[in-house]
Amino acid sequence: MNGVWTFLSDGANWVGPDGIWTRIAEHLQYSVLALLIAAVIALPLGALIGHTGKGITAAVGLANLLRALPSLGLLTLLVLWGLTIVQDNPDIPARWGLYVPSILVLVILGIPPILTNTYAGIGAVDPAVRDAASGLGMTGGQVLRKVELPVAAPLIFAGLRSAFLQIVATATILALVVTLGGLGRFILDGPKSPVNPYGIMAGGAVLVAVLAIVGDRVIAAIGYAAISPGLRSNGRPGNRRRRPALTTRNDPAALAEVQQ
C-alpha cells in the first residue's frame, strides 16, 4: 500500500501525455460515451417492452446473450475486424478502427442492466395507477411519459448505475490495445516497470475504483434530482420507511438496487 501512495502522491505522475490525468480523461471519455449510447438504445427499447408487455421473453434472451458474451473475446475480434476494415477503406479515419470496436464492447456491456431495469420498472407500475391515467384521458404515449417513466425512474437510474459500474471496471481491458490508453494501462504496464511495479498497478486499480464510485454518486445525484420526492426510497432519515416502495417489493432486481 506504501507503493500506491508513492505512485499517487508524486505530482510528476499526474501530468504529461501518459500521466494519470490523461488516463483518467481517456477512461472517462470511453465510459461516458458508451453509457450514453447504451442508454439511447436500451431505454426506448425497455420502455416499449414495459409499456406494451410484449417481447419480454425476447428481451430476457437478448439481455442474457449480451451478458454471456465475453468482453475480452469481443474486443479482440472486433479490433481485428476494425483494423481490416480501416485498411481496406482509406476514407475512414484509421483511429476509428480501434475506437469504434472498443466503445462497442462497452456499449454491449451496458445494455442488459439498463434494458432489464427499464422494462421491469415499468412492468412493476401499479395497474391501478396506469388505469387512473388512462381514465384521465391520457393517450398511451402520455401514460408512458407522464406516469410510467417517472414511477419507474428509481429502477431505471439503478440500471444506469449498474451499467456504469460494469463499463468503468471493464474499460481497463481496453489497455490491451496500447494506443487507447485508459487507466488499464497502469494495471498492465505497472508490473513491467523497473520502479514501484506493484504501486503503479495497484494505484491504477484504486483510480478505477475511485472513478467508478464518483461516477456512481453523480448518476445517483442526477437520479435524486430527477425522481419525484414521493418515490425516493432513501429520503430524509425518519421520514420514510427503510424498505423500498411497495411497487418494487417482490422484484429482486428492485429490492437489490433500491436499497443502496
Binding site: P70, L72, T116, A205, V208, P252, A256
Partner: protein, 238 residues
C-alpha cells in the same frame, strides 16, 4: 473460419474449455456457501446490512484484471496460479449473492415464518428447512447472474496468462487470426448457456411446489418467483 486449425488444435481447445469450466463453477459454489450465512445474518440483523451492501458495492468497483494481479501479492501465490482467479471470482460472487440472499429471505411471507415457529422450528433449522427453500427461486436468479458473468470474467485472466478459453482471445489477437477468437467466444457462450440451464433445472427440482402453485392459488412467493423469472437474472450488481 479456418476449420483445419480448429481440427489440429482440438485437444488444446478442449483442455482450455475444461479449465474454463472449473474456474467459473468453483467460485460460484464457494461463493454461494459463504453468502448464505452472511446474507442470513444481514437479513436477521438490520444494522449489518448497510455496511455489507456498501462493501459489496465497493468490491464490484475493483476491476477484475487488477484483482488478478494484486491477489498474488496478498495471498503469497504465484501470478500464474489459478487459485488467484478462483479467489477473485469468489469475492465477486459473494459481493453479488450476499445481497440477493438477504433480499430473497425478505420475500419469505410472514405467515410461513409464523407457521414454522408454531411447529417448533429452531432458528437455524427454520432457515435451512423453510426460509431457504422458499427463497430459492430468487437466490437462483442471483446465482444465474453470478455464473454467467463469471464465465465472461474468467476469460480476462488470459491477460495475465492463466490458461483457459480466454487464451484463445489473446492468441488470436497477437497472431491477427480470428478463428481462435471465434472458437473462444462460442465456447464461452455454450458454457454460459449450459450452466444457466443446469441452474434453472436445479431450481425447478428444489422447488416442486412452484409448478403446483402456479395452477392453483398463487402465493406471494410464487408471484415473486415468477417476477424473478421475468426479470431474468436480476440486476443485482450496484
Amino acid at each position: 473460419m479456418n476449420w483445419a486449425w480448429i481440427d489440429s488444435q482440438w485437444p488444446t481447445i478442449w483442455q482450455e474449455f475444461g479449465q474454463h469450466v472449473w474456474l467459473s463453477v468453483l467460485p460460484v459454489l464457494i461463493g454461494l456457501l459463504l453468502s448464505i450465512p452472511i446474507g442470513a445474518l444481514a437479513h436477521r440483523y438490520g444494522w449489518l446490512r448497510p455496511p455489507l451492501v456498501t462493501l459489496a458495492g465497493l468490491t464490484y468497483t475493483i476491476p477484475s484484471l487488477a484483482l488478478f494481479v494484486v491477489l498474488p501479492g496478498l495471498l503469497g501465490t504465484k501470478i500464474l496460479d489459478p487459485i488467484n482467479v478462483v479467489v477473485a471470482l469468489t469475492l465477486y460472487t459473494v459481493a453479488l449473492l450476499v445481497r440477493t440472499v438477504a433480499d430473497a429471505l425478505d420475500t419469505v411471507p410472514d405467515d410461513v415464518r409464523q407457521a414454522a415457529l408454531a411447529m417448533g422450528y429452531r432458528p437455524v433449522r427454520q432457515l435451512l428447512a423453510v426460509d431457504l427453500p422458499v427463497a430459492a427461486p430468487v437466490i437462483g436468479a442471483g446465482v444465474r447472474v453470478a455464473t454467467v458473468s463469471n464465465v465472461s470474467l474468467v476469460a480476462i485472466a488470459a491477460l495475465i496468462g492463466v490458461p483457459q478459453l480466454g487464451s484463445l482471445f489473446t492468441q488470436g489477437f497477437q497472431e491477427d487470426f480470428a478463428t481462435p477468437i471465434i472458437v473462444g467466444i462460442v465456447g464461452c457462450l455454450v458454457l454460459a448457456l449450459v450452466l444457466d440451464l443446469l441452474i434453472v433445472l436445479a431450481i425447478r427440482l428444489l422447488t416442486p411446489w412452484q409448478r403446483a402453485g402456479r395452477i392453483g392459488r398463487r402465493g406471494r412467493s410464487a408471484a415473486a418467483a415468477e417476477l424473478a423469472e421475468v426479470v431474468g437474472p436480476a440486476e443485482v450488481i450496484g
